[in-house]
């Protein structure tokens, strides 16, 4: 097959059940070009790239390579067409050496002494693109940057002309990121092309030739990099209009409920994720946290809910400090949590709904005494939740995994809210839900506030924050860039803060 001179996706649409992930998207890229693909989580970037990598078939639309339509039925088809993808989480065998990993799926190796041929190929590629690597090191011994180089060599050894990179710098140190960009520049000089999925605006600005922005499954903007700046990109990402706020009861925020002072938290990789953050939340108040994901929101939420150890600083709930890294302690202090990954953390899919309706509260009266679970009471409680939070289920005995995403979220939210007005930490509570369920969830959050509860709402959906919040803080690289209230917030201000300038 000839090298990819140009690749075009025309009118691509794809939906999953009720959610339209991609709607009529056009994309084109030429040899020697780096295209940035920008958008919030759930904007449809990954779906679009998975279509290009052959993992999904589009519902509608065509893909053309050098003007010829092709069908991509699986990653093998894509590889044969010269498309390679490097996932955010590397697909390498840890215990194997670099050479062995590259050997996987390397078809050109001869039957006898394949090592020799592969070693030669690795040397040739690393000379050509400056990809320094020791082929005999086991992968678990390598830094994230080196592992990424292995992935790049792997893709190049399969003759990838177009490289899709999914948030490549999210696991790298700044130096490693610079090295990566050096490599990418060498590659495009030699006729390759790169699609770079990223959240980071400055990254897009510094390396891409062109940028495409997706928003809610649609193409919301496309431009040459000379024609835009960071503020404009942020605006393209988040839309132009401030959504109208929902009706809220006219209550003033009361006393301080949660008090965070000078909080420092590291991420799983040991890099600073939250840096010296201080904030208060009051009763009858919804504080929204805006920001591009990966700027420390997850670590902040995990610390408040007792799932992560802070390095420094204090979390105080109604005057009581959160002492231990234990979700039970946070629960006892009245902190409830609608987790970001609701299926992974929020429910036990194989247990019936009624047992899921008391997860975490299962140690409290009246649901259990020290030994016995009171299942009649629990089933009643589950029935109440199902009714008052409109959970669509055949019965409270249904296994949780048989419920739809929206109904799972309604149950989790109901479970967390029903214990009374206190502090609710909601992380991306409407992510992936259909419009009706999302609206329902938002109204419940407002109802909690109207009753005197306080809410910390982390969301990437700015519309949602405008509709629901009393106050919005914008988080960037582990710090708050500033706080905005309904009379001061504008798209421009938020956009600039999301891109890293202080408000």
């Amino acid at each position: 097959m000839a090298r990819i001179q140009s690749l075009e996706m025309r009118g691509i649409s794809k939906s999953f059940l009720e959610v339209k992930a991609n709607r009529d998207i056009n994309l084109s890229i030429h040899a020697g070009e780096i295209l940035g693909l920008l958008g919030e989580n759930g904007a449809g970037k990954t779906t679009l790239m998975n279509i290009l990598y052959g993992l999904y078939l589009p519902d509608e639309g065509d893909i053309l390579v050098n003007g010829e339509p092709i069908r991509l039925r699986g990653p093998k088809d894509s590889m044969r067409a010269g498309i390679g993808m490097i996932h955010q989480h590397f697909m390498l065998v840890d215990k194997h050496t670099v050479l062995e990993n590259i050997a996987l799926g390397f078809d050109e190796a001869p039957f006898f002494f394949p090592h020799r041929a592969i070693r030669k190929k690795i040397e040739q590629l690393s000379d050509q693109y400056g990809l320094r690597i020791n082929p005999d090191k086991p992968v678990w011994n390598l830094s994230a940057g080196e592992q990424q180089r292995v992935e790049i060599i792997k893709a190049l050894s399969r003759n990838a002309d177009l490289l899709i990179m999914d948030e490549p710098t999210s696991v790298l140190t700044p130096q490693e990121a610079d090295e990566l960009f050096e490599i990418l520049r060498k590659m495009i000089l030699q006729g390759h092309s790169v699609i770079l999925i990223s959240h980071k605006l400055e990254e897009i600005m510094s390396i891409c030739d062109r940028v495409m922005v997706l928003r809610k499954g649609c193409l919301s903007g496309e431009a040459s990099i000379e024609d835009v700046d960071k503020g404009k990109l942020a605006e393209m990402m988040i839309g132009r209009q401030i959504a109208a706020a929902y009706d809220k009861a006219d209550v003033k925020p009361g006393g301080t409920v949660l008090d965070i002072q000078d909080l420092h938290v590291d991420s799983d990789r040991g890099l600073p994720a939250v840096r010296g953050l201080s904030v208060q939340i009051h009763s009858s108040e919804i504080l929204g946290i805006a920001g591009v994901s990966g700027n420390g929101q997850q670590e902040l939420v995990e610390t408040i809910t007792g799932l992560r150890q802070p390095l420094k600083g204090s979390v105080t709930m109604m005057g009581q400090p959160l002492k231990h890294v234990n979700a039970r302690d946070a629960h006892t202090l009245g902190i409830t949590h609608v987790p970001e990954e609701r299926i992974k953390f929020g429910i036990v899919p194989n247990l019936p709904l009624y047992e899921n309706s008391v997860l975490k509260q299962h140690r409290d009266a009246p649901y259990s005494s020290w030994l016995r679970m009171d299942y009649p009471v629990i089933k009643n409680h589950a029935g109440d939740l199902v009714n008052s939070f409109q959970v669509d289920t055949p019965s409270v005995n249904a296994r949780m995994k048989n419920l739809s995403g929206g109904n799972i979220q309604k149950l989790i939210l109901g479970r967390e809210i029903s214990s009374g007005p206190n502090l609710l930490i909601a992380a991306h509570p409407t992510y992936g839900l259909d419009v009706g369920a999302a609206e329902y969830v938002r109204k419940q959050i407002i109802a909690l506030r109207d009753k005197g509860g306080s809410v910390l709402l982390v969301s990437e959906d700015l519309d949602e924050l405008f509709m629901v919040c009393d106050r919005i803080a914008v988080m960037f690289e582990g710090e708050f860039m500033g706080e905005l209230t309904p009379d001061t917030w504008t798209i421009e201000k938020i956009g600039l803060m999301m891109a890293g300038s202080h408000g």
Binding site: G306, K344, G346, S368
Partner: protein, 359 residues
């Protein structure tokens, strides 16, 4: 043409029985082929097997005798497996129980009446098994050591320790140089039903604890946390379940149950501590299968344990009555087991054979 496996959503009790029966019949047919190839009339052999296990008073009594330790251990294993804690060390937890019970019996038995001694023996055996079972729990939670490896290795340590005891410090003065401890005093011995080796007390203990453990898993707070851990560790962390305490407790119960089985064998059958393989006959491993046959429901191990004991006893019967070698008996046991395991898979999955389609 290709084969498609789909998970079954619901299995009715009738389906359960039907599948079990079908698996048994298929297993017996396969066994028949093996028997026939060896020049044994399969019909006769199978007749003797059933006569020896469920088809005669003697057979039934032997089946119950061998069923009791399987129920005790199997129900404890089912509890641990519900939390996905893979305890392969019941054999050594049984031995630890027997060691503790022997010590209690030899030292206190001469001074105390049976009313005190019997509960005391069981209690010390439970504690022995529990302590031995908690070792791998600590290793797993504190140091991340895989419990399959640690429980398996602890089996060897316990077995060698028993050997050391019976040839060394605990070697009985009355045993003429044999590697046995002295006989336990009469107050520490469980009486049998006449013409059998069944202790009613032990039978009651086995059935009652299997039922209690069933309640524990499905109706108690402890059981709820066990099942949450087993089904979704992330949700367990999110809901603040204390892994260390729960794992320690569940392994104490699981090991303690095996310890009870050790005490039962000691007090009812052997009356003294001897070499590990004569004390247990591999009950700790057989009970793993029993727990799975019971679909990890502790109470169902009553049925599964008796059923499996029947297979063992039936195998022993043809060894005696038809003069078949021990290897043939093992082949019989294993083939039946393989078919039962296949049944376990087939009842949870639908198999559909489809012609290759060109989608």
């Amino acid at each position: 043409m290709y084969i498609e496996l789909l998970p079954r959503e619901k299995v009715s009790p009738q389906q359960n029985v039907l599948f079990m029966a079908a698996a048994l019949i298929a297993g017996l047919l396969a066994v028949s082929v093996v028997f026939a190839l060896n020049g044994v009339n399969p019909a006769v052999a199978i007749f003797y097997i059933f006569k020896g296990s469920f088809g005669s008073w003697y057979g039934i009594k032997e089946t119950i005798t061998k069923g009791m330790p399987l129920i005790l251990i199997g129900s404890g294993l089912a509890l641990a497996y519900k939390a996905k804690f893979w305890n392969i060390g019941a054999e050594s937890q049984l031995l630890a129980g027997a060691i503790f019970a022997t010590w209690t019996g030899l030292n206190w038995g001469p001074h105390l009446p049976a009313v005190v001694m019997v509960p005391l023996m069981f209690l010390s055996a439970f504690i022995g098994g529990a302590l031995w079972g908690m070792v791998p729990a600590v290793l797993k939670i504190r140091f991340g050591i895989n419990e399959v490896i640690s429980t398996l290795m602890l089996n060897y340590i316990a077995a060698e320790f028993v050997k050391f005891l019976v040839v060394g410090p605990w070697k009985g003065a009355s045993k003429g140089g044999y590697p046995y401890t002295d006989d336990l005093p009469a107050s520490s011995i469980l009486p049998h039903l006449s013409h059998s080796r069944i202790s009613l007390l032990l039978l009651f203990l086995a059935v009652a604890s299997a039922l209690i453990l069933g309640w524990l898993v499905y109706k108690s707070r402890f059981g709820y946390e066990i099942r949450v851990i087993g089904e979704n560790v992330h949700a367990a962390r999110y809901s603040g379940i204390n892994f260390f305490r729960t794992s320690l407790l569940l392994m104490a119960v699981s090991g303690g149950m095996a310890g009870l089985a050790g005490a039962g064998e000691l007090m009812s059958i052997h009356h003294y501590l001897s070499y590990p393989d004569s004390l247990s006959a591999g009950y700790g491993f057989t009970a793993i299968i029993v727990a799975w046959l019971a679909r990890l429901h502790p109470s169902y191990t009553i049925i599964a344990g008796l059923f499996f004991a029947g297979i063992i006893v039936g195998g022993d019967a043809i060894q005696v009555s038809m003069g078949m070698p021990i290897a043939a008996v093992r082949v019989f046991n294993s083939i039946i087991l393989i078919f039962l395991i296949m049944e376990d898979f087939l009842i949870s999955h639908r198999v559909r054979v489809r012609r290759k389609n060109h989608a």
